[in-house]
Symmetry: C3
């Protein structure tokens, strides 16, 4: 995987592991700040008016799909959206991913391709065959790097300094890609981090990831008990525990026991800091009670707006490097 | 439901019951006339060039969907279309409508959201949670207010004065939302109205609506016999009688008896006025014979063009109030 | 079918049989060259900025769909894409094609409609009912005229002169529409042509087409043996042999025997000319080995880019005639 080396121009953006330095992220965030200001002031932006983007989505996605589409249009680019590929490609025609990627590049004369695909290595394969940059908009269970970037951008908007931050991840640490990506990315950005991973044992963080983080001097704490971490937590990052998983394994009773410990409501939050923030990559299906939505600590809706700004920044950096 | 009070700026548009005065409708129609002229003269319109619209469709729809998309693009707006949500949301991820609406608002930085949804109260729920205006593009069996507006605009293009108008609605008066919406809207616009509702007994106009209209001094006539109304009719508004409904209820024989009385063809039209107009919200599935398409009284295709002009007007009024 | 008579303005483009003269094709190709140059130099083109196009697709299609969408956007037009109509129209609402075409024309105020449909005569029907020009983007098994135009454009980019060209078509000559369309179109463009049609007997070129070509003085050679034609071939045009067809007919054993003779790989190409080019309309599913992709004779990916340029040219000619 090609390192960024503080230069995004014409590079693929596949993985958070392409980052090496805090300044690479700051470059995105500085530009995202400018994008935010322009959008809020209703400025017309024409930076990408000579560019054409393709969104190629093999998985349903409301938020990432609309976020990239809006990012392209707000920058003045032409955007060719292609979704529903899961139905087309497998059932109807059976074209390989390398062929589809090259096809779409040729038929559209696009300058950049945004890919979402259920296979872990889809973006890397696409990058190998395409002659234009690929942005990974979610590949399998492994990576969702633009989600990690928007999550980190949300953090720095709420904390003047991330050194010594205590972040508690709750939910599915095993299959969820957002937790792994954000945890890694944080290590490029701050030191003295404490990370609590709260999950049922069967969904705990894989050893590969926990070892990687330990090597980076992160203080790691794994538990099934959310409440024991809450009082020291600065950031509560909630993800969905998939009931389906327990059903498949015949462990529905375990799920019934566990599920309430992972539902964030006012009762549980009584023990938490006043300045804590609550994040969620969304969609949620019950793990954050609606009563929390108007709590000032809840930032999961504004968190999504940050996805627009950081993706606008990223598109500009890859296509124009400024 | 918030009344318009002759001011559309940043209001939701959910129901025809938001209107109180003829002048509110005239405001739309005056602007629609200007839109018509500009489109016909192929003028480039940039009124909404700084705006972004979202179409969020939970039901398949060719005409309302394309009409709003074209309306937005012709006004120079950015448009994010999201359709096929029926498949996404229920089967795949199960996100609630309030969450989806807030999500889409945040990911796109949109200024207005156009919603179509099978639930009667979907637009009101969306309006409650979104911070941007909602346009109801069809909710359940209850309301389709932009259809009523384009229908009324079609009427005033063909009649210099709607006072004393005799309008005959044919088809399904019970489940069809267009008939109810147009009948109500007409009462804000003209007096001395006669309305004939021609339907099989099982699909007759609900008491709620007929009483509402009687309170507004509308002369109401309910019947199963179309031909007895035709000679005095100025406007024949045809809707589809759903065969499926009779099938479900085991009343297919009744349907077989009734169906021919509701098919508009040249034979039936012999008794009608020369200046009568024939409308239909479309799609039709047989209730207007193709032989009528070239009859000068048939206005159902030009009626649809009015959907474009009135929706352009409405978008401009809500976003710019001019 | 209306002949072009060297004038595309406001004409439907339904069939390659609308051409009569080489100069009509040269008109497209000259303009396509200009489009190519502008796209490669990243010029902003606004030729169609006052126009609105509709894509109405009743069949899944990645390449034709994205190609026309990109062509419209690169020319500055507004584009209303409507796909997935196969699901909407048949299952959900049952509207006839003439009604849908007129509906979409009215709701969008579009200037041109691009149609893909599984019925052979769909484009002709659409042209009969619409008042705006129709472009056939694939109708049934019969015609795909814009594919033939881009194929021919690809040929003239590789051969200074098409007189005396030897072209070998491989695969399904019976149901494939691209082969028939390109073979016919070539006869308007060059003389002294040799055409080899290599197919299993059950998929051989229908007599109607072979007789038509013989009447145009084309030297025709039909065979099941690819290798016997290869040494004299200038253009190898590969298409997919549909395994499904053999399965349905209970002839899977025949397929197993035949299939390898139609797979293009380095071994087979040893006998071919160094300057031969290999084309394919794509998608492929195995009939060209991946090892060929980097062979300089393989032009099937750049062939697709020509679809963009020729469709841009065609849109401009029909809407502006220049």
């Amino acid at each position: 995987m090609q390192k960024l080396n503080n230069n995004f121009y014409h590079k693929d953006f596949i993985s958070v592991e392409q980052f090496s330095h805090k300044r690479e992220l700051d470059k995105i965030f500085t530009l995202a700040d400018q994008m935010k200001e322009k959008i809020e002031k209703r400025r017309i932006i024409k930076d990408l008016k000579t560019f054409c983007l393709v969104e190629l989505f093999y998985q349903p996605s409301t938020r990432t799909y609309t976020s990239f589409l809006a990012a392209g249009l707000h920058l003045g680019a032409k955007v060719i959206p292609i979704h529903g590929m899961q139905a087309y490609s497998s059932a109807v025609k059976g074209e390989s991913l390398p062929d589809t990627v090259r096809t779409v590049e040729q038929t559209t004369a696009a300058d950049l391709l945004i890919l979402r695909h259920p296979a872990d290595d889809a973006s890397e394969i696409a990058a190998k065959y395409a002659s234009i940059p690929i942005i990974n908009a979610g590949s399998g269970t492994k990576e969702h790097p633009t989600q990690a970037v928007l999550d980190l951008y949300t953090l720095i908007q709420h904390f003047s300094n991330l050194q010594g931050l205590n972040i508690t991840f709750v939910g599915d640490m095993k299959y969820g890609r957002t937790v792994k990506s954000l945890a890694k990315l944080l290590t490029y950005y701050a030191k003295n981090l404490t990370m609590n991973f709260v999950a049922p044992k069967v969904l705990k963080l894989p050893n590969l990831e926990s070892q990687w983080l330990k090597n980076k001097q992160v203080k790691i704490h794994q538990t099934e008990n959310l409440e024991e971490c809450l009082s020291s937590t600065d950031v509560l990052y909630v993800t969905r525990v998939q009931k389906e998983w327990f059903e498949q394994k015949g462990k529905l009773r375990l799920y019934q026991q566990l599920k309430n410990s992972f539902i964030i409501n006012q009762r549980i939050l009584q023990k938490s800091k006043k300045k804590m923030i609550i994040m969620h990559p969304l969609p949620r299906v019950g793990e954050i009670a609606e009563e929390i939505d108007n709590d000032p600590r809840a930032v999961y809706f504004s968190q999504m707006r940050n996805g627009l700004y950081t993706r606008m920044a990223l598109l500009r950096l890859i296509l124009l490097d400024r």
